[in-house]
């Protein structure tokens, strides 16, 4: 029984991290589980339940996607640069890097749309024309996983666009970095998921 009565005590320390950041990390935990559900199903369906599965590079355009992966990685580094610029109070840097991140994110989406278009209309699959979500388990898992990742990128790009507009209004600065850091966490997470997806869907 601690009976040490001191007059004024600071609040409990919690994680020593501001609340929005904790909240984003907690939210990312649930995102991990969401993608684990999708990726886990893919792993089980492909490797567990001995079904026939085509080699990825016979169906998918690995080169284009590798470039796309690189685009997303670049967007991660520009995002973190934007945050660093905010910490340093470098207004020009914030604007430039945020704009670059948004553009790279949008470019990634554009390439993905192009990839889908090519697969659905120009790729052949099991003798028939078009690799679609109906093209067996391969098509179903491929489009579900990459599609939901793309959806997350889309949400990220929308938020980044908003953050960029705010940057041009001078919203961010050395005294206001939390929003950028939290958005950055989400954006890097989306990048991280793509790193895993790219490897197990396109390469293995």
């Amino acid at each position: 029984m601690a009976h040490a009565a001191t007059a004024a005590r600071p609040p409990e320390r919690g994680l020593d991290v501001y609340t929005q950041k904790v909240g984003m990390w907690v939210f990312l935990c649930s995102e991990v589980m969401f993608f684990a559900g999708l990726i886990g199903s893919y792993v089980v369906l492909r490797f567990g339940a001995s079904s026939s599965w085509a080699e990825p590079n016979e169906v998918l355009n690995v080169t284009v996607t590798a470039i796309n992966t690189f685009i997303l990685i670049c967007s991660s580094v520009t995002m973190v640069k934007a945050f660093a610029a905010a910490e340093a109070g470098d207004q020009k840097g914030i604007k430039t890097y945020l704009l670059a991140t948004t553009a790279l994110g949008a470019l990634f989406l554009g390439v993905q749309v192009y990839e889908y278009y090519e697969l659905i209309f120009h790729q052949s699959w099991a003798g028939s024309h078009g690799f679609t979500p109906q093209a067996g388990l391969y098509g179903a898992t491929f489009f579900t996983m990459t599609g939901f990742h793309g959806f997350h990128v889309l949400l990220g790009v929308i938020c980044l666009g908003w953050a960029t507009i705010r940057a041009y209004q001078g919203h961010w600065g050395a005294d206001n970095t939390h929003g950028l850091e939290v958005l950055g966490l989400y954006w890097h997470f989306v990048d991280l998921v793509w790193i895993i997806l790219f490897t197990i869907v396109y390469l293995i």
């Binding site: 005590r9 409990e12 589980m33 559900g37 979500p133």
Partner: protein, 587 residues
Amino acid sequence: MATIVAEAPGQATGHAEHEQSFLRKYIFSSDHKIIAIQFLFLTLFFLAVGGLLAMMMRYQIAWPDQPIPGGGILPESMVASGYILPEFYNALVTMHGSIMVFLAIMPMLVGVYANYLIPLQLGTHDMAFPRLNMYSFWLMVPAGIITLASFWVIGGAAGAGWTLYAPLSARPDLTGVELGQVMWLVALIFIGLSSILGSVNYITTTINMRAPGMTWFRMPLTIWALFITAILALLAMPVLSAAGIMLLFDQTLGTSFFLPEGGGQPLLWQHLFWFFGHPEVYILILPAMGFVSEILATGSRKPVFGYKAMVWAIVAIAFLGFIVWGHHMFMSGMNPTLGLSFTVSTLLIAVPSAIKTFNWMGTMWRGNLKLHTPMLFAISFVALFAIGGLSGVFMAATPVDIYIHDTYFIVAHLHYVLFGGSLFALFGAIYYWFPKMFGRMMSEKWGKVHFWTTFVLYNLVFFPMHGLGMVGMMRRIYDSTGYAHLEGIQDTNQLITVAAFGLYLTGFIFAFNFFWSIFKGKKASRNPWDATTLEWQTPSPPKHGNWDEVPVVYHGPHEYSHPDVLDKDWLAQNERPDVVSPAAGSH
């Protein structure tokens, strides 16, 4: 003594929101207390709806050869010339389970009480993310509307059971349900999102916003339970959402994740569903355990027996909850070797449950028991949860499960845990925290009437179901009279049905008491139960922002009958030890 209900708008709270329109204040409010009350009304409504579906089911089971009274008001697609149709019966089975789990019990435990109690009991002004909290409520509303609407679309509501086992749930040609199944999945995704947003809030608030002095092991057990529950929901719900989305694609896009014709795996659905489903079971019971611990301590005027053991038991249950899901699948064709490991983990999880039960009894031992309505519900929770827990041992022993799996024994078990457990605790919690929520007491006399009628009728309904299960009556059957081994059980079924009707009617006693007390109940003081936790040290109801000045916590959560305190038998968490003197007590 009459309380000083601080009506003056809280100026020191730092919330510049007093001049709000009605819409912002009561409808699209971000005040955790208002959101909790919104959840309370919503979930009580769905509790009534879910119960009504159960009544129709019970009528059909008891008198399959007689038209249902009043069935004429339902469309021909549900009740044809007075008789419940098998497809409607399947919809009743499915939607009773789904509504009770996802729209009544779970949001009532978490949406209402996590929202209401976490900021108050931790001593903070509001949730970490008030607006997110509002979204979490307003996502439930469309989910509820979609669910109710699905009864009236062509093909009726979902009919593949609340567990949505594929391929039945994935192929409309096999159920006869077209849109209903899809609508239910969409509603489920809304519910999942709401629950995830809620959990993010509860976890962040608990981790980061505790009042000074509110260390982890000074948190009330309710908070511990709600915190661990939020972690379970955070990690389990997304898996259901992922699986639900794949099932949705199977239904609508023509994929075949779970359909063997296209190479899919029906068992994968069951694994994913129960990976979510078993933690979900604990989501439905842990908060109830928290409420009961607290009400028992207050009612017994004693600290909770073995507080730390209670905390570790909650943690252990939650952790083990992620590795026992296979026990729902012993008969599913799952690899039998896997079955072995699930048996062991399942029996292990009975240990923390036993610890909790005995510690509750330890809390009552040598107490000074005040048998008010919340206390009665809490004690009967222990009594009924014990039955539900013990009947679970039969299923965990796999060879016995071969026989009782998917029989009424399971129905009895799950209702002892969910109704006798969660719902009894919830009734207790409603009576207990009602004064704080609405500033008035619920009628104690009608509360006792409600308790005794519910308790007796409840046992009449669900205890005989163990017997039905032993005889071998299968779950979810529309008409059991065609089976030789089920001859002679109709009397029991009719008894159960009559008792069930009575049980439903007791709900009206409660509803009457509830609504009457909101307007006409006796005014409540700050602390009508002489309780120790922080929420009782605020006015009833607390104002927007809860505190003028955040309280400082000096004691553990349940300091009752402390030998050094002479004038009263409780010590509030924020009472300074050096100030407590024989003259200081005021209530």
